[in-house]
C-alpha cells in the first residue's frame, strides 16, 4: 500500500467515523427529547416502531394541535392515555400519534402517506381547531430533508418545537362573531371537509377502519361545521361500515392554559381517552 493510498484510506475512515459519531450523538439527544416530548426518532409520538410483528395491532392518530396535545405534558395527552389500556390488551394495540401542533386537515393525507409503513388497523382522524391549511411551526418534521428521504427525524437541530411552547391556533372560521353564513361543506368549510374526506378515503381504500373524531366544539360555528362534515362523509362513504364516528363533547372540557391558548383539561382528556378506547376495542374485537 503506497503512502497516498494509505492517506486516502485514513481520510475515508475519518469521514466515516465522523458520520457515525454524529448519528450516535443524534440518537442520544433524540432519546432525551423523546423522554421530554414523546416524539420519537421517526417523528411521531409513541413508542418507536418501523415494523409490525404478527398479532400486533396498531392505531394511528392524525390531527393537529388538539390531537398532538399542545400545552400538555405528553403523558396527559389523549393518545398517551389510550396507549396504556390498549397496550395491556391480550393482543396489544400500539398507538402512534402522527399529529403535529398546528397541522391542519390539509396535511393529514401527507402524514398518512409518510407513515404508511406502520400498517394501521385503525385510523383516528381528529377534526381539530387548526385552520385546514395550517402547518406546524417551522414546517414540522417535513422540513427535514432526512425525514423526507428516509423517515428518520434527526434531533440535531431539533425539528419539532417543544409542545409547551405551541399555542392552539383556532380556525378564524369558527369565530361566532363573524356574520357571514358559513354554508357548510359546500361553503366556507369546503377546504376542511375535502381534506377530511381525503384522509377518510385514504384509510378506507386500504381496508382500514377509520374513526372520525369530533373534539369539544369551541363555538357554535364549529359545532355546525362538525355536523356538516359528518353529513358530507355519510353522503360519500355512508355505505362503508369501516367508517365510524366518535363525538367528544365533554362539558367544560377546555380551559385556558398559561400561554393563553385553549387546551383540554386532564379530566376531560381521560374521559375522551376512555370513550375512544372503547370504540377502538369494539372495532378491533368485532372484526
Amino acid at each position: 500500500m503506497t503512502r497516498r493510498q494509505l492517506a486516502a484510506v485514513f481520510l475515508v475512515n475519518a469521514i466515516g467515523y465522523l458520520c457515525v459519531a454524529t448519528i450516535l450523538v443524534d440518537r442520544g439527544y433524540r432519546r432525551q427529547l423523546a423522554a421530554r416530548t414523546g416524539v420519537n426518532a421517526y417523528g411521531y409520538r409513541g413508542v418507536a416502531r418501523v415494523g409490525k410483528t404478527s398479532g400486533e395491532r396498531r392505531l394511528v392518530v392524525v390531527g393537529g394541535s388538539f390531537a398532538f396535545g399542545s400545552g400538555l405534558q405528553y403523558a396527559d395527552t389523549i393518545p398517551a392515555l389510550m396507549s396504556g389500556p390498549l397496550g395491556r390488551q391480550p393482543q396489544p394495540v400500539h398507538v402512534a400519534n402522527l399529529s403535529e401542533p398546528g397541522a391542519g386537515a390539509g396535511t393529514f393525507v401527507r402524514a398518512l402517506n409518510d407513515y404508511a409503513y406502520l400498517l394501521p388497523d385503525v385510523i383516528l382522524i381528529v377534526d381539530g381547531y387548526d385552520p385546514p391549511s395550517g402547518l406546524p411551526p417551522g414546517g414540522g418534521r417535513r422540513a427535514s430533508a432526512v425525514f423526507r428521504d428516509i423517515g428518520y427525524l434527526p434531533a440535531l437541530p431539533s425539528g419539532l418545537v417543544s409542545p409547551a411552547a405551541v399555542s392552539t391556533d383556532v380556525d378564524p372560521l369558527f369565530d361566532d362573531s363573524r356574520h357571514e353564513d358559513p354554508g357548510g361543506c359546500a361553503g366556507l368549510f369546503a377546504e376542511r371537509c375535502d381534506a377530511m374526506a381525503a384522509a377518510v378515503e385514504w384509510g378506507l381504500a386500504r381496508k382500514t377502519a377509520v374513526v372520525v373524531v369530533t373534539p369539544p366544539a369551541v363555538s357554535r360555528r364549529q359545532a355546525a361545521e362538525q355536523r356538516a362534515l359528518l353529513t358530507a362523509l355519510a353522503g360519500r362513504f355512508g355505505s362503508d361500515d369501516r367508517l365510524h364516528h366518535v363525538n367528544l363533547q365533554v362539558p367544560g372540557a377546555l380551559e385556558d392554559g398559561l400561554s393563553g391558548a385553549r387546551r383540554i383539561t386532564r379530566e376531560a382528556a381521560e374521559s375522551c381517552a376512555r370513550q375512544l378506547v372503547a370504540e377502538v376495542l369494539t372495532i378491533l374485537n368485532g372484526r
Binding site: 500500500m1 494509505l6 484510506v9 485514513f10 475512515n13 466515516g16 467515523y17 458520520c19 457515525v20 448519528i23 450516535l24 440518537r27 426518532a41 421517526y42 418507536a48 416502531r49 418501523v50 415494523g51 410483528t53 428516509i150 423517515g151 428518520y152
Partner: protein, 369 residues
C-alpha cells in the same frame, strides 16, 4: 496433489471424523439461541430488533441457502468451522515459528478444547466461525496480507463483532514492537473493518429502529454481562467455569510465555484489552476461548519440550475433561479426575521445562525485516 496438500486433507478428514462422532454422541441442549439465529437468517433485517445479536445474520443467512433440518445444518457448520479453526491454529503456529510437532499438538489441543466442543453440543452460535477467523486472520496478517483479511473480517463482523479483534490485536502488537513500517497499514485495516461494523449498526438503528434493548451486555456502566454472570453463578461455579475453559492450558500458557519470542509475547499483550472487553460484555467463561489462537500456540511451546508419552498423556486427560465439560458427553466419566491429572502432568511438564535453560526466543517469520 502435493504432499502438503495431502497432509492437509488428511488432517481435515480426521478432524471432521472426530467432530462428527462427538456431534452424534452429544445430547441436545435445552436452551439455545436457535430461534433467534434462524429468524435472522430468514429475514436478514428484523425491524425494531432489540438485541445485541440483531446484526449477527451471516451464518443463519448462509445456512438457510441449504436444504435440511436446522440441527443438521448448524451441526455441520459447527463441525466444519471447528475443523477449519484447528487447521488455522496449526498453520498460525508454524507462522509463529513453532516446530511441526508443536503445530500438530496445537491443532489437536485446539480441536478438543472447551470452546469447539461446547459449540458441537450447542451449535446455534457464531463462535465456531470466530474460532476459525481469529487464527486465520492473524496468520494472514502476520504473513503480510492486508486485503484478504480485511475483506474476510468485514464479512465476518456480520456473524459476530469479534471478527474485527484480530486486526486490532496484530496492529497493537506491531505498535508494541515499534514496527512503524507495518503498523500504519494494519491500523488502516482495523479502522476500516470497525467502521464497516459501526456504519452498519448506525444504519440499522436509523432505518430499522435497531437497538441494544435491555441486554446486560449493553449496560456498560453497571458491569455489563460480567455483573449478571457473577450474580447468577455462585463464586464456586464461576471459578469452576473459568478453570474448565482452558484447563491445563492456563498452566502451560503461563510457562510458555517464558519461552515465547518477543513477537509472540507482543501479540499476547496486545490481545489483553480485547480479552478484558469481551470478558466484560459477554459470558466470560465462553468469551475467553476466542483467544485460543494465541493461548494454544504459546502453551505448545512447553508441550513440544516434553517427551511423546508425557505430551499425549496430558492431551488425553485434557480432552477427556473437555468432552464432559464442553461437549457434555454423558458416556465420558466425570471431568474432575481427568482435569486434575492433566494439571498434575502439566505441572511436571512445566517443572521439567523450567529446569532446562530456556532456548533462544523464537522469531515470527516474515513479521519483521
Amino acid at each position: 496433489m502435493s504432499a502438503a496438500a495431502k497432509d492437509w486433507w488428511l488432517r481435515l478428514v480426521w478432524l471432521v471424523a472426530v467432530f462428527g462422532a462427538i456431534v452424534v454422541l452429544a445430547p441436545q441442549p435445552e436452551l439455545t439461541d436457535r430461534d433467534m439465529y434462524v429468524t435472522f437468517g430468514r429475514r436478514i433485517i428484523v425491524p425494531d430488533c432489540s438485541d445485541v445479536s440483531c446484526m449477527r445474520v451471516l451464518i443463519g443467512w448462509f445456512l438457510e441457502r441449504f436444504p435440511g433440518t436446522d440441527v443438521v445444518k448448524w451441526s455441520t457448520y459447527a463441525v466444519l468451522a471447528n475443523a477449519a479453526a484447528a487447521l488455522a491454529v496449526r498453520r498460525l503456529s508454524l507462522t509463529l515459528g513453532l516446530t511441526a510437532r508443536a503445530a500438530d499438538f496445537a491443532m489437536w489441543f485446539d480441536a478438543l478444547g472447551f470452546g469447539p466442543l461446547f459449540a458441537l453440543f450447542n451449535p446455534y452460535t457464531a463462535d465456531p466461525l470466530m474460532f476459525a477467523l481469529g487464527a486465520w486472520l492473524t496468520d494472514l496478517l502476520l504473513r503480510g496480507r492486508r486485503g484478504l483479511p480485511t475483506a474476510l473480517a468485514a464479512i465476518g463482523i456480520f456473524a459476530k463483532e469479534f471478527a474485527a479483534a484480530p486486526l486490532w490485536i496484530v496492529t497493537i502488537a506491531a505498535a508494541l514492537r515499534r514496527d512503524w513500517r507495518t503498523a500504519p497499514s494494519l491500523l488502516a485495516c482495523a479502522l476500516t473493518v470497525t467502521l464497516v461494523w459501526l456504519s452498519a449498526q448506525a444504519a440499522l438503528m436509523v432505518l430499522f429502529n435497531y437497538s441494544l434493548g435491555d441486554n446486560p451486555s449493553a449496560d456498560f456502566l453497571h458491569g455489563a454481562y460480567l455483573a449478571k454472570w457473577m450474580r447468577e453463578l455462585s463464586p464456586r461455579l464461576a471459578l469452576v467455569a473459568m478453570v474448565a475453559e482452558f484447563g491445563v492450558l492456563y498452566l502451560l500458557f503461563a510457562a510458555g510465555l517464558r519461552l515465547a519470542s518477543a513477537d509472540l509475547r507482543a501479540l499476547v499483550l496486545a490481545s489483553i484489552p480485547a480479552a478484558l472487553l469481551l470478558a466484560y460484555v459477554q459470558q466470560p467463561d465462553r468469551a475467553l476461548w476466542n483467544f485460543h489462537f494465541l493461548v494454544v500456540p504459546v502453551a505448545m511451546l512447553v508441550v513440544d519440550r516434553a517427551d511423546w508419552l508425557m505430551a499425549w498423556s496430558v492431551f488425553v486427560f485434557y480432552a477427556a475433561a473437555n468432552l464432559r465439560f464442553g461437549a457434555q458427553l454423558a458416556a465420558v466419566p466425570s471431568a474432575g479426575l481427568p482435569m486434575m491429572l492433566s494439571f498434575v502432568l502439566g505441572l511436571l511438564m512445566v517443572v521439567r521445562t523450567w529446569r532446562e535453560s530456556p532456548p533462544r526466543p523464537i522469531r515470527v517469520e516474515g513479521s519483521r525485516p
